[in-house]
Symmetry: C2
Amino acid sequence: MDIEDLGERIIAGDRRALAQAITLIESGRADHRAQATELLEAVRGTGREAIRIGLSGTPGVGKSTFIESFGLMLTGQGLKVAVLAVDPSSARSGGSILGDKTRMERLSRAPGAFIRPSPSRSHLGGVARRTREAVALCEAAGFDVVLIETVGVGQSETVVAEMSDIFVLLMAPAGGDELQGVKRGIMEIADLILVNKADGDLKAAAQRTRSDYAGALRLLRKRAQDPEGFPKAICVSALQDDGLVEAWDEMRALIEWRRDEGHFAARRAAQAQSWFTEELRQGLLARLDAPEARAEMERYARAVAEGGITPAAAATEMLEKLGR
Amino acid sequence: MDIEDLGERIIAGDRRALAQAITLIESGRADHRAQATELLEAVRGTGREAIRIGLSGTPGVGKSTFIESFGLMLTGQGLKVAVLAVDPSSARSGGSILGDKTRMERLSRAPGAFIRPSPSRSHLGGVARRTREAVALCEAAGFDVVLIETVGVGQSETVVAEMSDIFVLLMAPAGGDELQGVKRGIMEIADLILVNKADGDLKAAAQRTRSDYAGALRLLRKRAQDPEGFPKAICVSALQDDGLVEAWDEMRALIEWRRDEGHFAARRAAQAQSWFTEELRQGLLARLDAPEARAEMERYARAVAEGGITPAAAATEMLEKLGR
């Protein structure tokens, strides 16, 4: 594969090249991994910078409808929008939250939009690494907004927040009691809570829920990276296209403030450093997957099981064999 | 330090040597680590085998009282009992669940007993590694029973179950609704549930709670490693020394059955293999802690933050420098 050419086509905005490149970074093969690293290096330094929006919401809050309506509003303004997903459960359940483009049929047909389902890996770490790289490729391809969607499974929300410029939580109207069910950790990383379905019979409930969340957010925190009034909770109706412009205005206002204060760049730099450390750790551990290492590990594991050597001594010996 | 001599003294049952050895394995220094590995290898193959009992219970269930009463019953029978703790929170909170021997004053003065608080490490992984090694040392020192205590913080119960022959859950009498609050994963690893405080005013509530748990356990599982009737729920009163003999009988019956069926040895072999794999992974990652590696990482992290190289390319380069 001609990596230099692939990189040039991505930068030129070629969607097929982008899709092909994402398939490459999702591959587990060592030669593909080396090519992926080369490709990422080749598309670095375009100076292009998308707004990376992390979006989480449990099933039933209307996430697909929101992404479609919000995405269409943005593409309608002439913006280019990429939608990626982090869904560690997709491998197990057999169906990705974004495996089906028909879920957002109108958006998938919009000329400015690009939708990519979550890679089918069972480990959140694996999904996270590939999604981070896909974000970088989408940015190099000139997208203005990259939406990274997740369903709140385990640590996936934290992982998505760590690759986003802002983190948005989509919620459904709820009774006061249910407020307690929201994981405190998620409230703490949310920059903006959108209470969806603020239409018809649910409108009043949505407004009460918004007010409850706004109160909870005020109690929970005030971070140095937040301007006055943030984190914020507002009502939207994805079904009726209500509040979407306001939501986008709030996101941009927050991003602008963070840019002006230097938090935006600092956050991106810190994220890149964490990503580097994680790559390094995973790369080091991958040495244990090499065929020779595997065979050696199996020999030691047998000896350990039979009581012929302690686990600690076996690990020490094997580490010496792996070389310094 | 003369490791061979230390090993011989441990095998001879010298408590001070045992305490000194546990301090050695808890040390983070590289030379201490090498000595610890040597020591574990030196005391391997005594043929001694303790019954390793994992015990979990949230604060308030009377865990200290139970361990003291249960431990005194065992030492009263002439058995030697070691009590270790896995408490990842001890470093943060400043007070270990077992930091204070006065908590089990009578047991700590019993000639057949040995009590050791949790090492002060903030990472559960670190506490787990050291506790596994301390268990091996106690076993070599001739203890008949090793009690590994934990409070249910995060994954600590799973970690303790993975180093135990049987896993016991200590519970307090509760209303029917509270049953749902018990984490399903914990119920699934419990071999025996002891409902404590079955005395005085709480006796009837304890009996109802026992019956609820017994029902839940029957619904939850039937494993190949379980004889008829297990997992089981029984009532005890640590305060009045009620049910302790029965609890010990149940534990021994389960252990005997597992020995006869070959599950006991198979479980220990599998645990030793997991421990080896974990040691190997941690040992490999520890290479990043060496001063040269740290300096190199910092250089790359700066370049990554400045956008001079992608995280993936920086990781690849650094991995090459670390050597194959």
